[in-house]
Every structure is written in structure tokens, then in C-alpha cells.
Amino acid sequence: MARMKFLCDADRCIECNACVTACKNEHDIPWGINRRRVVTINDGKPGERSVSMACMHCTDAPCAAVCPVNCFYTTADGVVLHSKDLCIGCGYCFYACPFGAPQYPKVGNFGSRGKMDKCTYCAGGPETDLSAAEYGSRENGQFTGYGSNRLAEGKLPLCAEMCSTKSLLAGDGEIIAQIYKERVVRRGYTSGAWGWQTAYRETIAS
């Protein structure tokens, strides 16, 4: 069984934000929620690197561990998903996540958190695959559901598919690690696979 992972090649990312736009458009994400974002380290200085970051779908997911209502589950592919029906919007998953993946709409009492939303690896949620309930509704200021389910259609996440430089790789961990290793050998240097140590307890060709 494939174990799905993300890998952002920090040496190739040009901060074009195509991944951000693709994700936002595909799942009709409302204003204020950013499932995927591009962070630039050392902007303008030598050694500037950009990294595209969303949920890493960690092996021992800290978000799942601290959730007071156990709304998270990991699929057979290793994708970490959650149920918005069980979520109580407490915010603990954001405190625990090393990557800041969970996002909350500001619709709750006192303008505080609504139900948590995060990158789903384009794999939807607990509702029936490819149903309207799974995609959810954006009417009347609502943000229900999880967006489109590409994995059920046999496709990979749209952010990686749209990446202009193929710096963001998504798919079976073995395959993308192999692609990355080949790049490292050809280049002769590497920044390492960002986030892999924290998320999957692995390193590649460092």
C-alpha cells in the first residue's frame, strides 16, 4: 500500500504560489483560510529559500494525539483526515502542529474559532467519497465539508500537479523520495527534504 507524502524541494521553489492558488480554487476555500502557503526564508539575502507548506500528514500526528474529541483518523494511505462533525473548535491541534496546518474560520462565538479545516491531501473527509456532502457548501457564510476528493478518482493532489517547477512533489513516499535523490545527485547539493524529519522521522540524502 502506498504511503502518501509531500516533499517540497526548497532548491527549486520559485515562490510562484501556483500551489496556493490551485488549492484555494479547487476546494473553494473561503477568505481567511489558507490550507497551503509558501514561506520564504532569508528573503532577499543570499541563501534565500522558499518552501510550500500545508499539512504534512505526519506518521505520529500530534494533532490527532491532542484532540479532545478524537476527530482525526489516518487512512490506509497514511493521509491524516478529520471529521468536522466531531470537531469542537478548541484549537489544540494548531498548538500541537509543528507546521501550523490547522486553520479555523472566525465564525464562532466572540469571533473565535469555527470548525477546523486543513489540507486533506485532496482526499476529502469521512463522508461518502465524491458526494456533495463531502465537498460541502459555501453558501450563507458557511464552510462545511472538505473540498474535492481527487484521491478517490485516482489523481494526486492538485497543488503538486500545478507546481510550475515540480518542486512540490506528492505521491507515494518511496517514489518521490527516489525522484528527490536523483535530483540531489545531479545537483551535487541539497537543502534536505524539508519537514521530513519532523513529520515522518526520515531523512533523504542528507
Binding site: V39, P68, I88, C90, S112
Partner: protein, 333 residues
């Protein structure tokens, strides 16, 4: 002849120089440089060692998106899932065990002279209202708070995940809304009783003599004895700390970033657990621990013999002011 020789030699020299120049490959331009500027790429682990978290710049307006990685999240997870649960279990279950043992050994502290039937007003209606409003809120806040830390392990096997999530959602609303009357109650209690809660010499003697509950002494006390003063300050300071950190958590990222939120949650959790344990002792002494104690806050009036035994200095004061009703009472002349 010599001149032609000179010219010829010059030409040959020029030709040789040109050939030499043409034949020499341009050295630095074609070979790879021995210094690869991008080889100084910093790896994730090195950055994590240097910085508490990795952050840069992002094109999105939300400031939180600038943080790339905050490893402190894993330490917070360890605290919340492991450390706080141990603290809570030890402190709360330990206190229950201590109280049970204490009751079995010491029993209820009786009014030694028996009830006289005459009463004196101890707390007026407003004070009692404030106390009970705060106390009821505290019970609900305590239970809903404990639910966040222990709930999923204890309750999900009993009622299933959907029912538990529904209960947890309402518990969270209750916790957030009741925080306001609770905070108001703590502030009012602080103002109402501050005058009688400053430590004094009487308290030192009271503690030394075991407060009448450890051993059989009868140390004098004013309106509030040293034990009550400690409870007062625990409520005011602990309640204050819980309120401040609680509001930081309830209005997320208004005043602080994710590190501040983690710290606020840790303080809130620890204060909460200790608060619950100490309030268990307070509830014990106010109900089964001492005969005649509950009516102080229940009806507002206490038996004169109870007051004589536990708050003699306060009772003398009340007698002097003519507030003790019924029967013949020898006034302090």
C-alpha cells in the same frame, strides 16, 4: 640584413605569442568553480537547532503563515497528553484520598457545647449570592475543563464518539460562557472580603495550634481564620490566573502568538487542576467536615456556640455591636 633579422625575429615572436595565447584554454571560465555558492544550503535540522522555530515571509496577510515550523508544538503535546494528566490525576485523586482518610480518622468536628439555638448573622444575602454564583459556575467549569483533558479516554468507551463529541461541544460552550459570571464572582468576592483577609498574628497562632482541626486546640480567630484566608487568596489569585489565561485562549491570537497560546494553555491547565483539588478540601470542610459550617453560607446564620468555638474574636465583636439575637447574652462591658 640585421634589420631584416630583427623584423623576422619579432614576427616569429609575435606568432609564437599568438599561438600560445590561442592554444591555452581559458582557465577559470570553463572548469567548475571549487566554491559552489548554493552548497551552503542550510538543512532543516541545522536551522531547527539554531532557532526556536523557523519563520520567514509569506505573501498571505495572516501573520501566522510566516511560521514554517514550530517544534515546540511537540513539547506542548507531551505536556498536555502526559504531564498535565499526571498532575491532575495525582493532585485530585490524592486530595480525595487525603480527605477520605482525614474523615475516617478525625471525623466531623462537632460543636462541643452543643447547639445553643441562638444564632448570629455570618454572611448577608449579597455575599451568599456571590458565593453560590461563583461556586456553581466553578463546578461546571471544573467538570467541562476536566473533560478536555480526561474526557475522551474516560467517556468515549461509555457513550461512543458521536455522543461524546456532542457533549464536549456543549461543555465547551458552557465553559466559555460561564467564565464571565465566574470572573465577576471572583472580582466581587475579592472586593467584598478583602478587609478581613490580611494575614495577622492571630493567624500564626491559629496555624501553630493546628487550627482546631488537627489536634484539639481552640485557637481564637476573627471573622476568617488562617485556613479561610488561604482559600480566599487561592480563589482570588488562582481564579484571576485562570481567568486571564482563559480569556487569552478564548480570544485566540488577539494578544499573543502560538508560543504564548501554548504557555497560556499550560498555565490554565495547571492552575485548574490545583484549584479543583483545593476546592475539594474547601467543600469538604464546609459540608461534612464540620458541624454547623454549611449554614453559614446556606442560611447566612450560624449557631452562637459554633461561633464561640471557631471564631471567638469575631463573635465577641458581633456581641459588642449588639448583633447577636435572642436569649440572655452577657455583653462585654
Amino acid at each position: 640584413m640585421a634589420r631584416m633579422g630583427f623584423v623576422l625575429r619579432s614576427l616569429i615572436a609575435a606568432l609564437c605569442l599568438w599561438l600560445a595565447a590561442a592554444a591555452t584554454p581559458p582557465a577559470a571560465a570553463q572548469q567548475p568553480s571549487s566554491v559552489n555558492p548554493t552548497a551552503q544550503s542550510v538543512k532543516e535540522q541545522e536551522l531547527l537547532k539554531e532557532l526556536q522555530r523557523i519563520q520567514g515571509r509569506s505573501s498571505l496577510p495572516d501573520a501566522r503563515t510566516r511560521v514554517l515550523e514550530q517544534p515546540a508544538g511537540r513539547e506542548w503535546r507531551q505536556f498536555h497528553q502526559v504531564t498535565l494528566r499526571w498532575i491532575g490525576a495525582i493532585v485530585i485523586l490524592g486530595m480525595l484520598a487525603v480527605l477520605l482518610l482525614f474523615y475516617l480518622i478525625r471525623g466531623m468536628v462537632r460543636i462541643e457545647a452543643g447547639r445553643s439555638g441562638r444564632t448570629v448573622v455570618r454572611f448577608n444575602a449579597f455575599e451568599r449570592f456571590v458565593h453560590w454564583m461563583t461556586a456553581t459556575c466553578f463546578i461546571v467549569l471544573a467538570l467541562s475543563g476536566l473533560n478536555v483533558t480526561f474526557g475522551k479516554e474516560l467517556l468515549t468507551p461509555l457513550i461512543g464518539p458521536e455522543a461524546f463529541a456532542g457533549w464536549a461541544q456543549w461543555a465547551k460552550y458552557a465553559h466559555n460562557y460561564l467564565s464571565f459570571p465566574f470572573t465577576l464572582g471572583v472580582v466581587l468576592m475579592f472586593l467584598l472580603w478583602i478587609a478581613w483577609n490580611f494575614p495577622s498574628g492571630t493567624d500564626v497562632r491559629w496555624i501553630r495550634e493546628g487550627g482546631g482541626i488537627v489536634g484539639n486546640g481552640h485557637p481564637p480567630a476573627r471573622r476568617f481564620n488562617a485556613g479561610q484566608k488561604m482559600i480566599y487568596w487561592v480563589v482570588v489569585l488562582g481564579g484571576g490566573a485562570a481567568a486571564v489565561t482563559g480569556y487569552l485562549l478564548m480570544f485566540p491570537f488577539y494578544a499573543t502568538d502560538v508560543t504564548g497560546m501554548q504557555t497560556a494553555q499550560m498555565v490554565h491547565g495547571i492552575v485548574g487542576m490545583l484549584f479543583i483539588a483545593i476546592m475539594l478540601a474547601h467543600i469538604y470542610i464546609g459540608t461534612i467536615g464540620m458541624q454547623g459550617a454549611f449554614e453559614a453560607m446556606g442560611k447566612g446564620e450560624v449557631d452562637v456556640n459554633w461561633a464561640r468555638q471557631h471564631h471567638s474574636l469575631w463573635l465577641d465583636n458581633e456581641i459588642r455591636k449588639g448583633r447577636v439575637g435572642g436569649g440572655s447574652v452577657a455583653p462585654a462591658e
